[in-house]
Symmetry: C2
Subunit: 310 residues, 2 copies
């Protein structure tokens, strides 16, 4: 399956959605020109990464959320997808008709139809105002936890799953999709280059990002395609390192810039099958009877009592 | 916490357990000399990796299993641990008093007392004889699935968990221990350098091994110490690449040889705490209500029905 990841450089506060859609259209055409059947755009692709700013919810919703999808501003993406016969994945802030805010991604097929929707489950950051830091990370304030689970869809010749940003760091995310037969997981992210919680050495910001993608792609015998929004948005820097990862855990394509950039790979879905039928044959080797704590506990607790040593 | 991994080179069929214990003793002394408080020996450390050979269960048990622990042959390890005041981790084939065979590891504290026992849960390989391959991988024939769960123990100043070999490739292994507060997971392994199931490119044998250890160490904010038995046992090669991995996912010590070799690291347990209190604060961020399939399904199945796209 020919696949493209379209990384997006900075989107500043002053940038209109129309200007962003133009950049996305240009990358969509490049992706198609390089043979891709699906192009993966980032999380919250249409605006700046607004959870870094403190404001009230109403203001955030008025400025940064979409109340319909498609809508007139993004319609050209749907039209161009149908014209070019290419699918796409797009992340945006969604306000539902009944007023619930989500960090959402959609999967659109080459006929321009929305075939899948995912609402982010692992919201990072905090809901209260954090003092003494250069920026906020208010996803827990502006979004509700996703209510649609981790879905998987048969479309464009593959079994595809979606997750968003921080979801990629949680092994449960990929496992729940692998247990539905996912061959490919696509995702977008906006990740600050500076950790506001502790003095994390800079190199770890990207190595841990890659490690999560590579480790989980491998342990689930799946392809993973991850698209960053990155660069310095009004002075707040986010890293790039968008990648396409094979089921071997190897990075087969990666961005070099922190600006608009398209990467592609020909994802051989049979490669994942080799892992899923052998070393990671779940039916033969998994032991759910010993995994109970994964559901029983949310946070970490005390060690379980152990049988006597005989 | 000062930690040593003692990798063991080949143990051939003709090698006596006494000769192996002498090698382990020598590495235990080296580990102590380098300041270690705990030394991690490999899986099935006392004999050759016998699951590569076809034989009947009675023969395997008579030749390769221990019916008591400690026993006269390994007693010098317990005595030396007490004398040096160093703990150790040892893997061996266990035959219980009621005749059940397990692939087992024990944790022995610096007083020479067995404080923890683990029986391998994720048994790889097959139970039937495989034709047309250079060697077998009969763990499912010679061992029962472990019956003690993934335990965690407070000992030697740390909260410690154990797993064995193929367990390291399953994210559930580490998660169940992390949910009991594990700060360090120790394990041994015997991994053939050749994949009998499909023509896997050689470099992947070690990169996927490291990726599983690094990815899971990081995603659980824990240290991982992994000890190989390796080199060519009677012509059957197993890889080395024993490592100590930090909660950052970084390899802080690794072996270079495929022979007896000790590596050490000073494992700062507070480093894991930084991850577990921030990005991987389970209590704040995990969403078990969306993880149901991890327990409900063993093998992969069809996609779950999705709500309509609204």
């Amino acid at each position: 399956m020919a696949l493209a990841v379209a990384q997006l450089g900075p989107v500043h506060l002053r940038d209109s959605r129309e200007s962003v859609v133009k950049r996305l259209l240009q990358m969509m055409r490049e992706a198609k020109g390089r043979g891709a059947r699906l192009v993966v755009f980032p999380e919250l692709a249409l605006t700046t990464f607004f959870p870094r700013y403190w404001m009230d919810e109403q203001e955030a919703q008025a400025r940064f959320f979409e109340t319909a999808m498609p809508n007139p501003v993004v319609q050209p993406l749907f039209d161009e997808a149908r014209r070019l016969e290419i699918g796409f994945h797009l992340g945006y802030a969604e306000l539902t008709r009944d007023g619930r805010p989500f960090n959402t991604a959609i999967l659109v097929d080459p006929s321009g139809t929305i075939v899948g929707k995912y609402r982010k489950i692992h919201l990072p950051g905090h809901a209260e105002r954090k003092e003494g830091v250069p920026f906020q990370h208010l996803e827990k304030k502006y979004f509700q936890v996703g209510d649609r689970g981790f879905g998987v869809w048969d479309t464009m010749g593959a079994r595809l799953g979606m997750c968003i940003c921080n979801d990629r760091r949680w092994p449960e995310t990929y496992r729940v999709m692998a247990l539905q037969g996912a061959e490919l997981v696509v995702l977008g992210y906006n990740t600050p280059s500076y950790n506001i919680n502790w003095d994390e050495p800079t190199h770890l910001r990207t190595t841990t990002h890659l490690l999560a993608l590579q480790g989980n792609a491998h342990m689930n015998g799946m392809w993973v395609a991850a698209a960053a929004k990155c660069g310095s948005e009004d002075g707040f820097h986010m890293f790039g390192s968008s990648v396409i990862v094979a089921p071997t855990g190897e990075i087969v394509a990666r961005t070099l810039s922190e600006d608009d950039e398209v990467i592609t790979a020909n994802a051989d879905l049979r490669l994942g099958e080799l892992y899923r039928q052998n070393i990671f044959n779940f039916g033969k080797h998994r032991r759910p009877e010993h995994y109970g704590l994964i559901l029983e506990r949310t946070g970490a607790g005390e060690p379980l009592p152990q049988p006597p040593i005989d």
